[in-house]
Amino acid sequence: MIAATRIETRGLAASYGTSPPALSGVTFAVQAGQAVAVLGPNGGGKTTLFRALLGEISVVAGTLTIGAATAYVPQTERSRLDFPVSALDVALMGAYARTSWYRRVTSADRATARAALARVGLSEQARTRFGELSGGQRQRVLIARALVQDAEVLLLDEPFGGVDQSSEQAIMGILDDLRDEGRVLLIATHDVEQARRWDRVLCLRGEQIAYGPPAETLTNAVLQDTYGAEIVMLDCGHRAVAIQHHHH
């Protein structure tokens, strides 16, 4: 059986407004049930790629085809932790697009949101204020929201940033399950070792550096091209650590 192609780009270039392209030369295809690590330094084009896939910025060259509903799972730090919303309220936001402006969210969607929270292991926290949850729990609530959207393609922006190791394992298990049921996952990360875990890796640095299975793609040469001076090779070149400069 040949899996259906869910995302395909050829020579994609995207830009913000009339600015020169922030990302160019991106060519890759993702099949149903594949998880792709999108690897690159800060400013390398990971978020730009996601915004182009979501149709939020202009594709100025090449082609882009997405054959499934797409949801964006942002970093939890981007959300307002002081907002008076519970975990259930946030999960229910996934139903907003199919709720007419003059109607309340349906009881069926409430049940879907509760089921999504149960699936990510947060049934007990449904009524807890989002800002009172731990970083890992917040990330799982945002994944639950994407499930309520019934998205087949999930774009996850640094899902393991700021979460402890046990939460990372929990999130990893959830993502494995989602992939196994045929969903497509694009996981933005700057963690080279994390990227080795997924089916494919897409290396970006303003343009596409490489795309393919991690074992073949993550060579020292590709990592040097992706990170430049920001990469440190360990264990005689068997491990690589990206040095990230956080912008405040």
Binding site: L54, F83, V90, L142
Partner: protein
């Protein structure tokens, strides 16, 4: 007095509902600035033969439109752009008032307000804006909630984030204009910010926040109006003082040490 009470009720509904979004979306400075930015419109209204509320509305909408345009690309923060436009509007108003036209009593009235001397037109405008605030909260509340909570993901959730934000700013500008005759351009925050800011201290869900904000706005404006009537005070400042007092009490009550809640780690 009956007319003043009706106006206070209508403006309180507006202030309670929109004030909730103002506070949640951190637009309190915008609301205050939009009131003050109507100043040049009020100055030219008389000499140009335009109704003062219409001139104030044009100035308020121009302020909101320019703010949306300046902040669209994200290079300038909303606060910085608001401060920039506020300084520009006040400077323009002062030049027009002192060097080009003579400011009349109408301008003074709209700058400082007089809830006890409203016209029928003022009352109808307050009622229409209250109805708009109810309808907009019902229709756009989810959009405003999702956009405010998670701006990065709002569009991917399928809500009309940009259109919703534009309508919120426009509705705030119109609400400011409707509030001007009652409490004046310099005290619009007394109705549009203070009750919701107080309710924010007392509630933890969006539904109760909206309801508490409206109840507080009604209570504070009616109490302020009665104090003004019986003690011969200007109504706008009386409402602002009552609102400030209630906020202080709420802040003191909620600042009392609480038993810490258990927090999960996983």
């Amino acid at each position: 007095m009956q007319r003043a009470l009706l106006a206070a009720l209508a403006l309180s509904v507006t202030g309670g509902l929109l004030g909730t979004w103002i506070v949640l979306r951190r637009l309190a400075f915008f609301a205050h600035a939009a009131g003050s930015a109507t100043f040049p419109g009020l100055v030219v209204a008389g000499p140009w033969g335009i109704a003062a509320p219409l001139a104030a509305l044009a100035a308020g909408l121009s302020f909101a439109g320019l703010l949306a345009r300046i902040t669209r690309r994200g290079a300038t923060s909303t606060n910085a752009a608001t401060g920039l436009l506020l300084a520009g509007a006040l400077a323009l108003g002062i030049v027009l008032a002192s060097d080009v036209y003579e400011s009349g009593a109408g301008v003074d009235r709209l700058l400082f307000g007089t809830l006890l001397g409203l016209s029928d037109a003022d009352l109808w405008l307050a009622a229409a804006v209250a109805a708009s605030a109810i309808a907009a909260t019902a229709a756009l509340g989810r959009t405003w909630l999702a956009t405010g909570f998670d701006p990065a993901a709002a569009r991917s959730l399928g809500v009309p984030a940009a259109r919703g934000d534009g309508l919120l700013l426009a509705l705030l500008a119109v609400s400011v204009v409707a509030t001007l005759p009652a409490v004046g351009a310099l005290l619009v925050s007394a109705l549009l910010v203070v009750p919701a800011a107080t309710a924010r201290l007392l509630t933890a869900s969006i539904g109760t926040l909206l309801a508490t904000s409206v109840v507080l706005a009604v209570g504070e404006s009616v109490t302020g109006l009665l104090l003004a009537f019986h003690l011969d005070l200007p109504p706008g400042p009386a409402i602002a003082i009552v609102g400030g007092g209630v906020f202080a009490l709420a802040a003191l009550a909620t600042a009392a040490p609480r038993r810490p809640r258990a927090r999960s780690i996983a």
